[in-house]
C-alpha cells in the first residue's frame, strides 16, 4: 500500500535512538504535584498509624511510637471485622444493583424515541447534580417515621406503617441507604454505558438481526462484548465509591439508627478518629482500607491494562 512508502524501513531504529526528553519534562510537574499532594497525606497517615495519636497530640503533645500496636489492636477487635464484612457486602450489592439498573436505563434510552430519551436524560442529570446533603434531606423526609410519604402511602395501601421507624433496624436502615445511593449513582452508570452503546455500529446489529439473532442474543453476543471495557471500568469505579461511602450513611445515622450496627468503613473511621479522638487507630483503619481498595480493584485494573495494551 502507498502508506507504507512514507515510512522508510530504518524509521523504527531512528525512533529508538532519539529518546525524546520533552514528554518527560512535560510530565514532570504533574508527577511532582501528584507526589506532593498524595505522598504528604499518605505519609502522614502512615506516620500517625504507627503512633499513639489522640486529642492531646493534636494540641501539640509528643506522640509515642507504638509500632504496629494500633494495627494489632484493630485486628483483634471483632468490631472491625463485622464492619469490614458489612462494608464489602454493602458495596457489592450496591455496585451490582446500580450497574443493572444503569445498563437497563441506557438500553432504554437507545430504544425510546428521542423526545422521551431527552426527558429521561434530563431527569437523570438532575438526580446526578443534586448535592448530597440536599438529596439526603429529601430522602430523610420521605422515610420520616411520622410524616414520611413512604409510610403514608403504605398505610393508604392497607399496611400498618403508622409510626414505623425505617432506620431502627439495621437491615431496613441499609435498605433505605441502598435506595438512596443507587438513586444517586445510577445516572453516571447510565450515561457512561449509553455513551458506550452509541459506539456499537448499527450495521453489525442489523446483520445479526438478518441472520436471525433475537434481542437477547444480540445483547449478549454483540453489545455486551463491545461495551465490556466501559462496563468493567464503571463497575470498578462503583466498587471503589461504594466501599468508601460516607456522607449518606453519616447523614442517615444523624437521623436515627444504631451507629455500631450500621457503621461502614467510612463512618467507622470517622467515629474512631474524629469522634473518639483516637487518630492513631483511625489512621490504621484508613491504611487498611487503602490496601483493601487496591486488592479489590487490582484484578480489574490488570484486565483493563491487558485489553488496552498492544
Amino acid at each position: 500500500m502507498p502508506r507504507t512508502l512514507d515510512h522508510p524501513p530504518q524509521a523504527p531504529a531512528l525512533r529508538a535512538r532519539r529518546r525524546p526528553r520533552v514528554p518527560y519534562a512535560l510530565l514532570a510537574p504533574a508527577v511532582l504535584l501528584l507526589l506532593a499532594a498524595l505522598a504528604y497525606p499518605v505519609g502522614w497517615q502512615l506516620f500517625t498509624s504507627l503512633h499513639q495519636f489522640g486529642l492531646a497530640q493534636q494540641f501539640g503533645a509528643s506522640a509515642e511510637f507504638v509500632g504496629l500496636g494500633n494495627y494489632a489492636r484493630l485486628v483483634t477487635d471483632p468490631g472491625l471485622w463485622s464492619v469490614v464484612l458489612r462494608s464489602l457486602a454493602f458495596c457489592l450489592v450496591n455496585a451490582v444493583v446500580t450497574m443493572a439498573i444503569g445498563v437497563l436505563l441506557a438500553l432504554l434510552m437507545k430504544a425510546v424515541p428521542r423526545a422521551v430519551a431527552l426527558v429521561l436524560q434530563v431527569s437523570l442529570l438532575l438526580a446526578w447534580a443534586m448535592p448530597v446533603v440536599a438529596a439526603m434531606t429529601v430522602w430523610r423526609w420521605l422515610f420520616d417515621y411520622r410524616r414520611g410519604v413512604v409510610n403514608h402511602l403504605l398505610t393508604q395501601l392497607g399496611f400498618d406503617f403508622v409510626g414505623h421507624s425505617w432506620l431502627e433496624q439495621p437491615l431496613s436502615f441499609f435498605f433505605v441507604a441502598t435506595v438512596v445511593i443507587v438513586w444517586m449513582s445510577v445516572p453516571f452508570v447510565a450515561f457512561s454505558v449509553y455513551a458506550g452503546l452509541t459506539q456499537v455500529p448499527d450495521e453489525v446489529l442489523e446483520a445479526a438481526q438478518i441472520d436471525g439473532a433475537n434481542a437477547r442474543q444480540r445483547f449478549t453476543g454483540i453489545i455486551l462484548p463491545m461495551v465490556r471495557p466501559v462496563l468493567a471500568l464503571v463497575l470498578l469505579l462503583q466498587v471503589i465509591w461504594d466501599l468508601r461511602v460516607f456522607a449518606q450513611i453519616k447523614l442517615l445515622q444523624d437521623a436515627g439508627g444504631v451507629p455500631s450496627e450500621t457503621n461502614l468503613l467510612g463512618t467507622y473511621i470517622y467515629q474512631v478518629g474524629v469522634g473518639s479522638g483516637d487518630f492513631g487507630a483511625a489512621s490504621a483503619v484508613s491504611v487498611f482500607v487503602l490496601a483493601l481498595t487496591i486488592t479489590l480493584s487490582w484484578p480489574y485494573v490488570r484486565t483493563l491494562l491487558r485489553e488496552e495494551g498492544p
Binding site: A39, Y145, D254, P259, G277
Partner: protein
C-alpha cells in the same frame, strides 16, 4: 518529632516543616501591656441559642471599647462542634479567638491545653458568683480555662387538655410521674393515634439520665484520679429499670429517636395546612415531653406575626412542671444544659479576647442573658429571668441540676455514641444488668482518656 515527621513524609519537606511550625510555635503572641493593636477577632457561638439582640450588643460594645478593632461572630452547629474544635483550635492561623462550647465538652478540651489559662481574670469576671459546676468543668488543677456562659435546665412540658381528659393530676413524686404517664398512654385521651403519655426517644440519654440521678445513681465516679463508669451500680440500675418500664408502657417514640426537637410532638400541628386551609392535628402525639427551658418558644398555638408563623404559648392548653424527685420533696436532679466559654490558647489576640470576655461577664450582658431566658453565668443576675412559670421552673430545676462527669474522656465517650446505643438497648427491652455491665466495661477506659 520534627525529624520523624519529615522522614516519614519523605517528599515535600517544605510542606511538612510548615505543618510542624503551626504545631509547636506561636507562644509569643501575648501582649506586653498597654493597648493592643487594632485587629479583628472571631467569636464562635454554638447553635442559635444566643439571640441576635445579644450578638449585636457584643459587636457594637466591643468595637466601641476597642477603637479600630472588629468582632466577627461565627455560628457553629452543635452537631459537629467537637470536630470543628479538634481541627481549628490547634491551628494558630485558623483558630477562633473566643469559643463557646458545651459544658460537657469543656473538660476534654481544657485537659489537652486547648484554652488559655485565665485564672488571673477569674475574680474580675465574677469569681464565686459564677455557677460552680460549670466553673469546675473548665478548671484543671485549680487553674481556670473556661468559664460558664449560660445555663439552662430541663423540665416537663405537658398538655393540660390531654391530662385532664385522662383524669391525671400533676405528680408529686417520681413514681407518681411514671405511673401517670403510663396511665395516659393506656387511656388514649381524645383518640389521638399513636399517642405517648410521655414521649421520650430510646436514644435520648440527656433526659433519661435524670432517672438515674433521681434514684441516687451516677454516670461515673472518680477515685484516686481514676474514673469508673457506674451504670451497673444498684442505684443506677433502679433508674434504668424505671426507664425501661416507661419505654414499654408510656412512650411510643422510636427506639432510635434522640432528644432533638421533642417539643414538636406537643403541638397541635406543625405548619401543615389541609386543602381547605385548615391545619390538622396530625402531628400531636405526646401528652408530655421533657426539654430544655428554651423549648417554650417553640410550643404553643400556631399564629401569624409579621407574616411569619410563630408559636404562642397558651396557658389553657400547655403547662410546665419540674420533674419531682423520688421522695416527693422537690425537684429531681436533671441534666444541666448550658455552655462554657474560653479563649483559645493559640489566639493571636489574647488581649482583645480578654476584652471581649470582660464584656460578656459585665453586668449589662449578664442581665441581657437573663431577659432572654438564658440562665446568666453570674448568679447575682438570676432575677433577670423574671418570675413567670418558666423562670420558676428553670431556677428550681437548675438548682438541683447535675453535670456529666468532668472526666478527661467524657467528650470522646459522648461522641462515640455509646450512650445513645446503651439507652436504645434498654428501651428495646435488653437485660438491664448485663447491658449496664457491658457498658461500664467499655466506657471506663474511654473516660480515663484511653483511646476507645
Amino acid at each position: 518529632m520534627k525529624i520523624l515527621r519529615t522522614a516519614a513524609v519523605g517528599v515535600a519537606a517544605a510542606l511538612a516543616l510548615a505543618a510542624c511550625g503551626s504545631g509547636d510555635g506561636s507562644t509569643g503572641a501575648t501582649g506586653d501591656g498597654g493597648t493592643p493593636e487594632p485587629a479583628t477577632i472571631t467569636l464562635w457561638l454554638a447553635g442559635g441559642d444566643t439571640p441576635d439582640e445579644l450578638r449585636d450588643y457584643l459587636t457594637t460594645t466591643f468595637e466601641a471599647e476597642n477603637p479600630g478593632s472588629k468582632l466577627v461572630i461565627e455560628q457553629q452547629d452543635w452537631g459537629d462542634l467537637v470536630t470543628k474544635l479538634t481541627t481549628a483550635l490547634p491551628d494558630a492561623a485558623n483558630t477562633p479567638d473566643v469559643v463557646e462550647l458545651g459544658n460537657t465538652q469543656s473538660s476534654t478540651f481544657t485537659n489537652v491545653g486547648a484554652f488559655l489559662d485565665i485564672s488571673d481574670m477569674y475574680e474580675e469576671l465574677g469569681g464565686d458568683k459564677l455557677v460552680p459546676g460549670f466553673v469546675e468543668a473548665g478548671a484543671v488543677d485549680g487553674a481556670n480555662f473556661t468559664l460558664p456562659y449560660y445555663f439552662g435546665s430541663r423540665y416537663v412540658f405537658y398538655r393540660k387538655d390531654l391530662w385532664a381528659a385522662a383524669g391525671a393530676d400533676v405528680p408529686k413524686t417520681l413514681a407518681e410521674f411514671n405511673e401517670t404517664v403510663a396511665a395516659i398512654t393506656a387511656a388514649q385521651p381524645n383518640g389521638i393515634p399513636n399517642l405517648s403519655g410521655f414521649w421520650i426517644g430510646g436514644q435520648d440519654w440527656r433526659n433519661a439520665i435524670s432517672w438515674i440521678f433521681a434514684n441516687g445513681g451516677d454516670l461515673a465516679v472518680q477515685e484516686g484520679g481514676e474514673w469508673t463508669s457506674t451504670m451497673s451500680d444498684p442505684k443506677s440500675i433502679k433508674g434504668l429499670e424505671q426507664l425501661q418500664e416507661i419505654w414499654t408502657s408510656a412512650s411510643k417514640a422510636p427506639r432510635d429517636a434522640t432528644d432533638a426537637n421533642t417539643y414538636n410532638h406537643l403541638n397541635d400541628s406543625d405548619a401543615v395546612e389541609g386543602e381547605d386551609g385548615s391545619t390538622t392535628s396530625y402531628s400531636l402525639d405526646a401528652a408530655t415531653v421533657m426539654a430544655p427551658g428554651w423549648a417554650h418558644w417553640s410550643i404553643g398555638d400556631l399564629v401569624t406575626k409579621d407574616g411569619k408563623d410563630v408559636r404562642e404559648w397558651n396557658d389553657e392548653r400547655f403547662g410546665v412542671f419540674v420533674l419531682p424527685n423520688a421522695e416527693g420533696t422537690g425537684a429531681a436532679p436533671v441534666f444541666a444544659g448550658g455552655s462554657n466559654i474560653g479563649i483559645s490558647a493559640k489566639s493571636q489576640q489574647p488581649e482583645l479576647a480578654k476584652s471581649l470576655m470582660r464584656i460578656i461577664f459585665s453586668d449589662e450582658y449578664q442581665q441581657l442573658l437573663g431577659e432572654n431566658g438564658l440562665g446568666p453565668a453570674n448568679t447575682d443576675h438570676v432575677d433577670a429571668l423574671g418570675d413567670d412559670q418558666f423562670a420558676t421552673a428553670l431556677v428550681e430545676s437548675a438548682l438541683n441540676a447535675k453535670l456529666t462527669p468532668a472526666a478527661p474522656g467524657w467528650a470522646a465517650l459522648e461522641n462515640s455514641k455509646k450512650l445513645e446505643e446503651f439507652f436504645g438497648q434498654i428501651a428495646g427491652g435488653a437485660d438491664v444488668t448485663a447491658t449496664a455491665k457491658a457498658f461500664d466495661a467499655a466506657a471506663t477506659p474511654i473516660l480515663n482518656g484511653a483511646a476507645g
